[in-house]
């Protein structure tokens, strides 16, 4: 994009922020509960991976379920859809 010159405005502040925890899709501090998986009970059925609304669950045949907690919103959908009740929601503070 060499046709663009970035030049500061003469007046006014810009509506820009620096990404940190809580932006760019990261959850930050506001999750109240987190999903915890018992991979011993898990049958690798992939339901949780399919239903997670923010797509942060990976199911591997060998190792089982892993969740990216940086982005997990704590909504509990995965716990609800698991037919084996292998996922439980535990309070974040505890």
């Amino acid at each position: 994009m060499d046709r663009v010159e970035v030049v500061k405005p003469v007046h006014g502040r810009l509506p820009l922020t620096t990404p940190s925890k809580g932006v760019a899709g990261k959850t930050g501090l506001w999750r109240t509960e987190r999903p915890v998986v018992d991979n011993g009970k898990c049958t690798r059925c992939f339901q949780c991976e399919i239903y997670c609304p923010v797509n942060v669950i990976r199911v591997e045949p060998e190792t089982g379920v892993s969740i990216d907690y940086e982005y997990c919103k704590g909504c509990g959908v995965c716990a609800d859809v698991c037919p084996m009740r292998a996922i439980s929601m535990v309070p974040e503070a505890g």
């Binding site: 994009m1 663009v4 030049v7 405005p9 820009l16 990404p19």
Partner: protein, 391 residues
């Protein structure tokens, strides 16, 4: 430079072609459609190297342009009436993000009832959105203003989007001879695109994220300051354009026979031509009257009005929109401007007319202006507000 017979809509298409924005996005709506139809023909034939994004709504059209402009592209869209109202949310996003962009507004009455004829109600509805708002009087000015709009929008003293208005059908679908400047010269004159920041992935920035009240107020205050300096930029750009392409219009307003006028008629848009014709007739009859035409509605040309209206005996304002429950929008702003020097207040009158596309002729203007002048001359208080209806 070539001369072509063009409708107002196509005059805008040709201006956009000369500028060559990287991205054009639009949704068809009468009476705007032929602007983007022409542009899409140009893209299809290879005459214009732009990306044309066909979207499912006007809200998306402006959102697509917003995204492209954030990433550093010159972007253009055009709309009318309900479409403009539908995109109104994004209209605010663009200006408050301080992102330069140009949009054509081909004015059409707001529904209900369904009506395709023009008044200024759709344009005026955007008054407080933080866009620079220009309005052309003829097809040549529609082309020149569109090119100038990119330059104004991308000036670091401004960094606000610009909308260029014309009346649907009256200019939009009426053919006039238009001079088209040389493409190379236009690009050279515009230079590279300038904007205050670019979202290009090279460094992470968040645009429009949550900001505390005091900081948000600072951001908005910057828009107000930029509107003030836009007045100087608009005049400078018009002068430079005149030197480069041989046509200049004088800045925020055009003064027609108003230097020595005792009375002033104020207007905006294509019907100003009919008003000027009426003024020529009235001049022959000895009435010293002139026309002050608004070329820009935002920033509001307060200083020009103070200068010209402040030394007039009477000012009559013709508004082609109404703020229901109050007056015409131009009148309200004009009175507020003149109240800065209350000792110089002339006799004032507001005539709202031409609503929903009702045709106002030069004879109508002649009659109304003459009636106004005569009532002031007789020492009567002229009618302060009137909705002039033709039946």
């Amino acid at each position: 430079m070539v001369r072509k017979a063009l409708t107002g809509n196509h005059a805008i298409s040709y201006a956009v072609k000369l500028v060559k924005p990287e991205v054009i996005a639009a949704y068809p709506i009468t009476p705007q459609t032929s602007i983007v139809e022409k542009l899409s023909e140009m893209v299809e034939s290879g005459e214009l190297d732009s990306t044309m994004i066909r979207v499912e709504s006007e809200h998306s059209a402006l959102a697509a342009c917003y995204g492209a402009a954030l990433a550093g592209a010159r972007a253009f869209t055009a709309t009318s009436s309900q479409g403009l109202l539908y995109m109104h949310e994004v209209v605010h996003w663009v200006s408050r993000a301080r992102i330069p962009m140009v949009m054509a507004v081909v004015s059409r009455t707001i529904n209900a009832p369904w009506n395709i004829w023009p008044d200024h109600s759709d344009f005026m509805d955007q008054r407080d959105a933080g866009w620079i708002m220009a309005y052309a009087m003829d097809n040549q000015e529609a082309l020149d203003l569109t090119i100038q709009a990119f330059k104004i929008s991308e000036d670091p003293e401004v960094y606000l989007p610009v909308m260029v208005g014309i009346e649907g059908f009256i200019l939009g679908h009426t053919t006039m001879p238009v001079e088209i400047p040389d493409e190379e010269l236009v690009r050279e004159w515009l230079g590279p695109r300038r904007q205050p920041y670019v979202v290009d992935g090279s460094s992470p920035i968040g645009v429009g994220g949550l900001t505390m009240p005091e900081e948000t107020e600072d951001i908005f205050h910057g828009i107000q300051e930029s509107m003030e300096s836009a007045k100087r930029v608009i005049e400078r750009v018009d002068r430079e354009y005149g030197r480069m392409f041989g046509r200049s219009y004088g800045g925020l307003t055009q003064c027609y026979r108003c230097e020595d006028a005792d009375y002033l008629a104020v207007s905006m848009g294509a019907w100003s031509g009919d008003l000027m014709e009426a003024v020529n007739k009235l001049r022959e009859e000895g009435y010293r009257v002139g026309v002050l035409r608004l070329r820009f509605y935002r920033p509001f040309p307060r200083e020009d009005l103070l200068e010209h209206a402040g030394r007039s005996k009477g000012v009559v304002v013709f508004d082609r929109a109404v703020s229901f429950g109050a007056w015409g929008p131009i009148f309200a702003d004009l009175v507020a401007s003149l109240a800065e020097r209350p000792e110089k207040l002339p006799a004032l009158s507001n005539i709202v007319a031409g609503i929903a596309g009702v045709n106002i002729t030069s004879e109508d203007f002649e009659k109304l202006v003459k009636r106004f002048i005569e009532s002031v001359e007789k020492g009567e208080k002229p009618v302060y507000f009137e909705w002039f209806r033709k039946r």
